[in-house]
Point group: C2
Chain length 427, copies 2
């Protein structure tokens, strides 16, 4: 598709460029300082979890199902937290481990474990000549960093509206046994906001793959709906169990974007064999996790229903911000041919694509105008967005007013860069 | 030295054995159920930290030195916690990282990091044909487990009253560059309770060793005094800095035995270069640690003086228990030639040695009589106590009454096994 600038006559384009440059100069003079880079809730939004801090005090019962949460022990997590973890991940409580505050840390521990010692019965990954990993892209940069850090080769596969391009995934995985895993954010994916279709989930669980192929199923946004019609995600364990592939699925989630970012509790769920093996491995380096934090969380959020009720409060903060993104982008860019973007029903991000070769320039221009975006390229492995089109919009942190101002700047930057690209084509 | 049973005539020994067996039968009939295995505080002792739970509530200021502790960010730890960490470890706050609840986890992360990628400028340990590690023994089984898990060869070196046998340590380390590190619990060592002498600390910091040789300086009992005259530990960083070896020292500590076991905060301290490198590494798998827990801790224990005041309350629980151990062992075994034991001024353990070949049998007999001890051998790498003499006594958890009963059983078991060993010698 051509941009409106490509369709203009030379004179029209020159006029448009002059006008856009005037606008840019005007904005620059305003000395804005806005941040749309970070997928973190605003302070007001975080505040809704403050009542949780009242639930443990010096005279509280600090036991949970007979477990003393104030002393060592109970490595796998306290009973109420494992029950909640099971509801999040779609497995029985016995197939969960509840740990500290970071699901990213759990993913790293498990991947490093396989790298060191291998999936039981298979060669340790560090002894293989080549280990590759599939990275649905645009995706989450911190995922890609885990494997990159181990020297694993990250291979991007395209995200579609129904999840990763499954024809491509199946083709790659069947042809190359050195592909040992894949990252998935199956619901309200970071950053596209798409939720994997039933068919995608089924194919991931049942496709042919190396015996030590593992899917990191990061259900980070399991309950993070803000739309009127929440997306529904199939339970991958149901498909995997039926196909005898339950060991393939390494599911995680956390309450970091439910209660306090960085101070939540994190969940791991997998097959009974994996859970036993992972627990034995993690026990080498941990006596037991912070069970008082687990207890505070399950007193605050004892059931998935309580979680959903709490998430409805989060939605009140997020809904107007995502509406603002949609409105500003539509108002500024609809019909220009300069951009497409996603329209998620939950999660923390909107994925934005400008013309080929635009994203880095748009990011730089926005920065010059006082608006910080997630660095262009960050959503692709190694920071290499092959078309240089993708920008992750993180609207949760700023106020709606600041967000609107930031989006005006983004729209202006996209227009100017698009016009410049059209001009350069002609030169 | 001979035991009193070895010095008896055949008739005397037969009579002693018959008498001891009668006593054992009597104890067995009582059906005791006592536990002296675990280095954890009693529930009453843990209770002294409950007031900490009142310090954060829904209307608290959740910032620390300008850092919002309720949201992502501030990876290295909040300012007040880094200040406290520095006081614990003997380094400036900038040379610390404060993380989640487990110092064991930090040690593992750092060792695994070097195993994966090497100390900067050196070969990754997993690529070396042989990697060895010095394990002062008796020592802490979970330390030994960290290196064993990576296939590193653990080499025991004897503990003396002034720390590890430094002649032996220096000899081994100078002769063999495949020795890459060493575990140290320098104050109230687990389990001997000894504190390293100034000379030991200096020699560890300054001795010749491979450039990527590392000392895990686990100051787990830095402030855990219960005697009238607390031991004093030299600051190893002072010696190391002077010798240009500051990178050698990886110091850790935690509040697990100060506030809530498993739910404390953990400290890492090292040279500026190491702290920067370790932070960069850990950031791959962690956005930020639980800063609300850090904040709750530093509001409760803002200074090292506050910590010492709090530790004095812990001492009230520990002092009578350690006195009971000393009393019962003296009463039952002094002058018998059957045992030696340590007399610590702090920490959590008494290290007990019976005659050669006795420890496993004493453990088994105690178990039969209803008293659980730390498994014999656990204090040596791989569980291999070469003389089979050592038993770790962990008196903190039981009530003084239960502890006294358990020690009576231990004394009886040591006597019977010693008499049996004397008898077997003659057969």
């Amino acid at each position: 598709m051509q941009t409106m600038y490509q369709q203009m006559s030379d004179t029209e384009l020159a006029n448009a460029l002059a006008d856009l440059k005037d606008q840019v100069a005007e904005v620059k003079a305003r000395g804005l300082k806005l941040d749309m880079a970070r997928g973190k809730p605003s302070p007001e939004q975080v505040g809704i979890s403050r009542p949780m801090l009242d639930l443990l005090s010096s005279d509280s019962d600090l036991t949970d199902g007979g477990v003393d949460c104030s002393n060592y022990g109970c490595f796998e997590g306290i009973p109420s937290a494992r029950k909640l973890a099971g509801e999040f991940l779609g497995v029985p409580p016995e197939q969960t481990i509840v740990l500290g505050s970071s699901s990213l840390n759990i993913m790293q521990d498990v991947i490093v474990h396989y790298w060191e010692k291998g999936v039981p019965g298979n060669t340790p990954w560090h002894k293989l000549e080549s280990v590759k990993w599939l990275c649905p892209s645009p995706g989450y940069d911190r995922h890609f960093g885990l494997t990159q850090d181990l020297g694993i080769e990250n291979i991007p596969v395209c995200m579609t509206e129904t999840g990763p391009d499954m024809d491509e995934v199946e083709r790659l995985v069947a042809a190359d046994p050195s592909i040992k895993g894949m990252f998935c954010v199956p619901k309200y994916s970071n950053p596209t906001g798409c939720t994997y279709s039933d068919d995608t989930v089924r194919r991931l669980a049942t496709m042919e793959a190396a015996p030590d192929f593992r899917i990191v199923w990061d259900n980070a946004y399991a309950v993070h709906d803000f739309g009127d019609e929440p997306d529904k995600l199939a339970n991958i364990f149901d498909y995997a169990r039926e196909a005898g592939n339950e060991d393939r699925i390494l599911a995680v989630a956390s309450t970091s974007k439910i209660t306090f970012p960085g101070a939540g509790i994190a969940f791991f769920g997998s097959s009974p064999a994996n859970v036993a093996e992972v627990a034995n491995t993690l026990k080498v380096g941990l006596i037991s996790a912070n069970k008082l934090n687990q207890l505070m969380h399950t007193r605050f959020l004892p059931t998935l229903d309580a979680v959903r009720e709490h998430m409805a409060k989060h939605a009140e903060f997020l809904r107007p911000r995502f509406a603002c993104v949609e409105e500003k982008l539509t108002e500024g860019l609809a019909g220009t041919g300069c951009a497409t973007w996603t329209h998620p029903h939950g999660g923390y991000f909107v994925s934005f694509d400008g013309p080929a070769g635009s994203a880095k320039r748009v990011g730089a221009l926005c920065k010059e105008l006082g608006v910080v975006l997630t660095p262009a390229g960050a959503t692709w492995p190694g920071g290499n967005d092959p078309q240089d089109t993708n920008i992750r919009i993180a609207p949760s942190y700023p106020s709606v007013e600041d967000l609107a101002a930031a989006l005006d700047v983004l729209v202006l930057a996209v227009k100017l860069v698009s016009a410049e690209l059209a001009q350069e084509e002609r030169a």
